[in-house]
């Protein structure tokens, strides 16, 4: 299955849900924010959100800001 993560195409073998994918990619729980197909996806929904082919995910981390 192909997914788009932060604009880059990735081939995913194992992950079934957003929660699985975050773990597979090495993101620490509690330190990311996610949007799916341009819409906000709440943290509580990561485990129940099943990945679909070509899904477009935005995964953001805290960063210094002005």
């Amino acid at each position: 299955m192909q997914v788009l993560v932060n604009g880059k195409e990735l081939e995913i073998a194992q992950a079934k849900t957003v929660s699985d994918l975050l773990q597979e990619l090495g993101y620490a729980q509690g330190s990311v924010a996610v949007a799916k197909n341009g819409e906000f996806l709440a943290r509580k929904d990561y485990a129940s959100t099943v990945l679909e082919d070509k899904v477009d995910l935005e995964i953001l981390l805290p960063m210094q800001g002005g």
Partner: protein
Amino acid sequence: MFSLANKSFKSRMLLGTALYPSPEVMKQSLTESGAEVITVSLRRQSPNSKGGQQFWEYIKSLNLTLLPNTAGCRTAKEAVVTAQMARDLFETNWIKLEVIGDDYTLQPDPFQLLEAARELLNDGFEVFPYSTDDLILAQRLVEAGCKIVMPWAAPIGSGQGLTDPRALETLRARLPETTLIVDAGVGKPSHAARVMEMGFDGVLLNSAVALATHPPEMAKAFALAIEAGRMGYEAGLMQERDLAKPSTPELGTPFWHRREQTPEVGVD
């Protein structure tokens, strides 16, 4: 005490966390500033970089009030989704709403800004809109429900100071009940003191501190300037006069009787 969105603070300075030469210098600067509200952002980063995670752990340890921004967003839709992501991540409903309309000036897009502000207010956010000094935009934001408006003094990161002080004075005069924080363009402590003397409620800055030769000292300088400006405002500034008026009493001026012999000499 300074009341901001139903929270009380001692400091009227809001400080950014970007552009410091090192995390250690940022830490010293935050300490010296006395700022209790700091701005943060969220960005795409590699999970392997660990930078975001380390920054987040450090920021949490400071126990300060976080004001996440939507920096870089170009449309209301992008800004709204980014704000929702920020709320989820930083666990706060405060959002510094930035919707940029022009790459060269980083001037806010007033139409998209207002649209995003309305949507976020309906969704329970405390919206801190970054705006220009346009009065009508500020009024529309207030009508939409914003308790706070953050006009620029000059373009972000320019350090130019008050490019249109009259416009800022007008905003203050026309929106006496709104919390007004000057955000962007402040370059020197005197710029911050001047807007505080005008009666602005606070100053948000980043580059002026982070890009100083000695950021912690500059953070302290700004803290003092903001405090001095506020005290000056509260003390009530004297009215400007068109002509000079001697402060020393004229009665008993020495050599008064000789003035008729040297008529060119005036009174200082």
